[in-house]
């Protein structure tokens, strides 16, 4: 009985062992071949489940957005409309893929594939539980940045090969935005890497006795903003703003190709929530997660859906930003802020290590408290100064516009009197 409980506690290793025994003993394969087959099966299962969890996500988002907008949302297809996404995807699959005249066929067809690929590849390094991770690369954090930069190529290909000026314009705007927000994305991503001393995702999760959201909240905020911009969600959805540029680089896509772009974008939205969870909220950590690894994925999914709820919330209430506002926000505010934050935090950390007794950089909850307090104070100071500066900017801009208006009104009156 205790044996069964112990094996259920670490269900992933149990399944792995069962499968290995199945292949080696029953089917007579060599251990390397067995492990290779199990890895292939695992990769296939992961990729499929990422795309399947999309079905739930889209329903969740539509219901939440509807409730925020004081309406009900899909409620016809199935109880509470839970099969709505299935119906939508079935419709998309059965539509004809219309290839525009003069379109370049190879980039046209490859672009959605690269888009989906760049999203699904990220899930290979996400730790779901202490013993369940695709592959614990020692450069995990750098890997998913590199892979998500592949999505830029797919947008460009889609925009160009559609042979459509609006698609090309939308693609250029999208590429400009994505490339601009990669810089604060990477700089804010450096924070968990520095705090945990390793780029492995497993190590980053294990170092979060106190979640990094509490230790460096401004860095988490910068990462959140940059990742929402990377996905192209409101308030940053100029890539596919339906009222502006008629869905940007998606214009000429229909049917299954559009379904792939659709799936890639929503899956990317969920993926950055998962990354935020792993990097700043502690991933699979929770009460009893180390002793019972099976619980790890429950905590992980719970936290990820909480972050996803926040993403849907911001999507529902914030208006779309203009593209030049988006770009100047990134380059003139986020990049300097994240650079200053990084330098000051690392400086404070080093000074703390040298001069504060009892300052630990790794360990349990109580060990990390001095470091948390120091870095939290530095964050709040930097964040407060940045907020004051932004407020001052607003005030200066308003004063400048009032001055311009008053000069114009005086001149206008003078011109009228001169006539």
């Amino acid at each position: 009985m205790a044996d069964v409980l112990a094996s259920l506690a670490d269900i992933y290793t149990t399944i792995g062992n069962l499968l290995t025994r199945l292949f080696v003993d029953v089917l007579g394969a060599s251990p390397e071949l067995a492990s290779g087959i199990i890895k292939f099966l695992g990769a296939g299962l992961l990729a499929t489940s990422v795309l399947l969890i999309l079905v739930f996500n889209i329903w969740f988002e539509r219901k939440v957005m509807a409730r925020i907008q004081d309406r009900i949302g899909p409620n016809r297809v199935g109880p509470w409309g839970i099969f709505q996404t299935v119906a939508d995807l079935a419709k998309l699959f059965t539509k004809e893929i219309i290839i525009p005249d003069g379109a370049d066929l190879v980039p046209f067809m490859i672009a959605p594939v690269i888009s989906v690929m760049s999203v699904v590849l990220i899930w290979a390094v996400v730790p779901f539980a202490p013993t369940l991770i695709g592959t614990d690369l020692n450069i995990g954090a750098l890997y998913f940045v590199a892979v998500s930069s592949l999505g830029v190529v797919s947008i460009l290909l889609a925009g160009w090969s559609s042979n459509n000026k609006y698609a090309l314009l939308g693609a250029f705007r999208g590429v400009a935005m994505l490339v601009s927000y990669e810089v604060p994305f990477v700089l804010a991503l450096l924070v968990p890497v520095i705090l945990s001393g390793s780029m492995r995702m497993g190590d980053i999760v294990r170092a979060q006795s106190i979640p990094f959201l509490v230790v460096m909240p401004v860095a988490a905020l910068i990462f959140w903003i940059a990742s929402v911009a990377e996905v192209g969600r409101q308030p940053f959805d100029v890539i596919e703003g339906e009222s502006e540029i008629v869905s940007g680089y998606h214009i000429e896509y229909s049917g299954f190709a559009f379904a792939m772009f659709y799936a890639a974008e929503w899956a990317h939205g969920f993926t950055v929530c998962a990354l935020m969870t792993v990097l700043f909220l502690g991933g699979w950590r929770g009460p009893g997660a180390e002793q019972i690894p099976t619980l790890g994925i429950v905590y992980f999914l719970g936290k990820t859906f909480l972050v996803y709820f926040f993403q849907v919330w911001t999507r529902a209430i914030l208006p779309r930003m203009r593209i030049d506002h988006i770009l100047s926000f990134s380059w003139k505010f986020l990049v300097p802020l994240s650079l200053v934050l990084l330098v000051l935090s690392v400086l404070a950390d080093k000074l703390g290590q040298l001069y504060i007794p009892g300052y630990a950089v790794a360990g349990s909850f109580v060990d990390l408290l001095p470091r948390t307090a120091l870095l939290l104070v530095v964050n709040l100071i930097v964040g407060g100064l940045a907020a004051l500066w932004v407020a001052g900017l607003g005030r200066r801009e308003r004063r400048r516009q009032e001055a311009a208006l008053s000069v114009a009104s005086i001149e206008g009156r003078a011109a009228q009197q001169a006539r």
Partner: protein, 166 residues
């Protein structure tokens, strides 16, 4: 040579690299040439993974595929004219082909005669990335080249912005 997963992976990556390179230099349509360039760069990243340098593979994808290939593609899109019938090779292409083949022959001869059958003798130390990071910040390491490279990138950034502005 035995057929292991490593040899299969090497064969696939080499085909990507060499086939993509061939596509880059001989493709009539420039956008297709840019796509083949992206394919080649991806193959080179795969070769880095096979050579047990994962950091370099990630940096290759990030820098080359995520930035340089995008830059090249955007430049091609921006500088398209109404294309008449223009050839994509100039008058000296037979000489160029001869030089390329000759260089390949010489390099191939040197490589096969000097380095045939060399197998790795030592394993890669597992803390390579930590040591590399520390070497970029130490005087006995590569601190000076690191700073010079950052000045170079700053100069390139300013230069590109100034040149490409109207």
């Amino acid at each position: 040579m035995t057929i292991t997963p490593e040899t299969v992976a090497f064969a696939i990556m080499s085909v990507l690299v060499l086939g993509g390179g061939l596509g880059v230099v001989s493709s009539r349509n420039l956008i297709h040439a840019a796509l083949y360039l992206a394919l080649t760069l991806f193959g080179v990243a795969g070769l880095f993974v096979l050579l047990e340098a994962p950091f370099l593979a990630a940096v290759q994808v990030l820098v080359y595929l995520g930035a340089i290939a995008v830059l090249v593609t955007i430049t091609i899109m921006v500088t398209r004219r109404l294309m008449g019938i223009t050839e994509n090779v100039n008058r000296q292409w037979p000489v160029a082909a001869l030089i390329a083949v000759l260089a390949a022959a010489i390099l191939g001869f040197v490589v096969i005669s000097q380095f045939a059958g060399v197998y790795p003798t030592q394993a890669v130390p597992p803390d390579t990335i930590e040591r590399m990071g520390q070497s970029f910040a130490s005087h006995q390491g590569f601190l000076l080249p690191f700073e010079v490279a950052s000045v170079l990138l700053l100069a390139a950034m300013i230069g590109a912005i100034v040149v490409a502005r109207d």
